[in-house]
């Protein structure tokens, strides 16, 4: 295990500035780790040469004492972010060969801050999934194994490739997107930190669209401090995304004071669901005790609409997806299967290009938006969504943030739940509500269940990432999760 790949961003930043090692040395160490992680299928595309070029540019700036905030930091980018001149697939066959002529706003900000691209990571096709098994490029494998059980486990999803790369030390940090839990759930499964900021905090421009009112780009890191560093660069108003929030970006690192005395922590009673594993309940109780010891005050709150969040999500997200994915028609980019007529070409191209989960959701979305069903399904779900947002607004009159489990289980074997879409959807039962309400949330590794990591999440008020991160870091220190996965690449 290389010492360089064991560092956090904060440590690497200090080491680079103190000239203990160069950005090129760091890039070489990570390029090697990316090679060694190949059996886990975390990357769809690797960019070792670009990593070295970017690192050389960082070294030149560091030598002149003109270091940028993320100079020399090697990153894994979810293959949903468009990267100029680098293949971008969204995990789908239908984007075969797509090389964007532009860069997403979030990645543009990261490169402008000096970060280094290691490659593009695997994901569920079009971010639709909770296991990174629906990718056209095959499943990613979790670096963790259950002790005494050799079955490969899912990475979680949809940002599974980034989670695996960060957990197995093949990237210092990564980017993900969270639409129903796709940053936080894989972070929980792989034992890392995953942060979903407020809707509109990070620009969606240049991020392949799944469900536009739910898509949240965010960082995936080894610790909360690193999440604060990454978010500080990724966040900010972008006129190219009309839903991007024109809010100033605070200094998130300064928010990490470690002082949560007097904060009220909401404990939602509806998050105790039937059949939840005993370990998750006891970990949640431990989390409550840790925050109380740190001087915060746990208060019971009620979010009565919680049980309706998932069914509402599975109307709204497919509806938006069916509309967004209409652009894949074999004409402008990607795959094309020839046909006798324009419609024949469309139908053959989309049949060949979309996998079963994407087809399933596009069809559900088409149905709920079709004449006669729009009011019954789509408008109904959007009304329930208003009620879910009201639940949170009422809760935040009584508390400053909310503590809950991230996922209802630890990582499960690849292939399990594959035949039952609804069972797979239930993975997101604790993460979906914050997406529907657009609220910031961070998942922090808090303990082990049968040798596998489990996360707890902190959900906060809109645009109050500072409290979320501050409480998240206190939780992280108290949990002192230092376990490592069985597969370490770096």
């Amino acid at each position: 295990m290389s010492e360089l790949t064991a560092l956090t961003i904060a440590e690497a930043r200090a080491g680079l500035r103190a000239k203990k090692f160069s950005a090129c040395e760091l890039a070489v160490a990570y390029n090697d780790a990316v090679e060694r992680i190949k059996p886990l299928n975390a990357f769809i595309t690797t960019t070792p040469d670009r990593a070295l070029e970017m690192a050389a540019a960082s070294d030149a700036r560091l030598a002149k004492g003109e270091a940028l905030p993320l100079d020399g930091i090697p990153l894994a980018i979810k293959d949903l972010f468009c990267t100029k001149g680098v293949l971008t697939t969204a995990g789908s066959h239908i984007l075969d060969g797509f090389t964007p002529p532009y860069e997403s706003t979030v990645t543009e900000k990261l490169w402008a801050a000096g970060a280094v691209l290691l490659g593009k990571t695997n994901m569920d096709e079009f971010a639709m999934g909770s296991s990174t098994t629906t990718s056209y490029y095959g499943p990613s494998e979790n670096p963790w194994r259950r002790p005494g059980d050799n079955r490969p486990l899912v990475a979680g999803g949809s940002s599974g490739g980034s989670a695996v790369a960060v957990a197995a030390r093949a990237a210092l940090a990564g980017t993900g997107t969270d639409t129903g839990g796709s940053i936080r759930q894989p972070a929980s499964f792989c034992g890392i930190v995953g942060m979903k900021p407020t809707y509109g905090r990070c620009s969606r421009w240049g991020v392949v669209a799944f469900a536009s009112s739910l898509d949240h780009p965010g960082p995936m890191t080894r610790c909360v401090h690193d999440a604060a560093i990454m978010l500080g660069t990724m966040a900010g108003h972008d006129p190219r995304d009309s839903t991007s929030a024109p809010e100033p970006v605070p200094d998130y690192e300064k928010a990490l004071t470690g002082d949560i005395r007097g904060l009220k922590i909401g404990i939602p009673r509806e998050y105790r669901i039937d059949g939840m594993a005993g370990e998750i309940e006891s970990l949640w109780q431990a989390g409550i005790a840790w925050l109380r010891e740190a001087g915060a005050e746990p208060v019971e709150i009620s979010l009565p609409m919680t049980k309706y969040a998932l069914p509402a999500y599975y109307v709204i997200a497919p509806a938006e997806a069916s509309s967004n994915l209409a652009r894949y028609d074999g004409v402008k980019f990607g795959l094309r299967i020839d046909g006798d007529s324009l419609d024949d070409m469309y139908e053959k191209t989309r049949a060949a290009g979309f996998g079963v989960e994407v087809r399933r959701r596009v069809l559900i979305g088409t149905y709920v938006l079709s004449a006669g069903y729009y009011d019954a399904y789509y408008l109904k779900a959007q009304r329930v969504r208003s009620l879910i947002a009201r639940d949170f607004a009422a809760a935040f009159e009584r508390c400053d943030c909310i503590l809950a489990p991230t996922a209802p289980s630890a990582a499960f074997p690849i292939g399990e739940k594959a035949d039952d879409p609804v069972a797979m959807y239930l993975n997101d039962v604790f993460t979906v509500p914050a997406d529907l309400a657009g609220l910031p949330a961070v998942s922090v590794p808090a303990g082990l269940s049968d040798g596998l990591p489990l996360g707890l999440q902190i959900i906060g008020r809109a645009f109050d990432e500072e409290t979320v991160l501050r409480v998240g870091q206190v939780l992280e220190s108290a949990a002192s999760f230092t376990h490592l996965p069985s597969f370490i690449a770096g």
Binding site: P239, Y308, Y377, K380, V384, S386
Partner: protein, 95 residues
């Protein structure tokens, strides 16, 4: 809500996805299962609740109606599977 084969065929056509005949029946069962599960939403009283139309309370910003990007044909068609004389090429649409 049980979807029948004909309905699945109709929405597949609307979505422009060719579904082989033998897959219609299993797909109908699968989609019906999801819609049955979604039906629990009907138990929620939403009279007087407006549908959510924007996640953050904000008015969409206006911008000046000027060209800010574009006029780069080669970049725009650079990823197209088929082009002809600087245009996207598609099967014949008009006889």
């Amino acid at each position: 809500m049980a979807l029948d084969k004909a309905t699945v065929a109709r929405i597949a056509t609307l979505a422009r996805i060719r579904v082989p005949e033998e897959e219609l029946e299993p797909l109908a069962a699968e989609l019906s299962g999801i819609l049955d599960w979604v039906e629990q939403l009907m138990a929620v009283d939403t009279s007087d609740v407006p549908p959510m139309t924007s996640v953050a309370e904000m008015t969409l910003p206006m911008r000046d109606d000027v060209v800010s990007d574009g006029n780069d044909r080669d970049a725009a068609i650079g990823n197209a599977p088929r082009t002809a004389r600087g245009f996207y090429a598609v099967p014949k649409v008009v006889e």
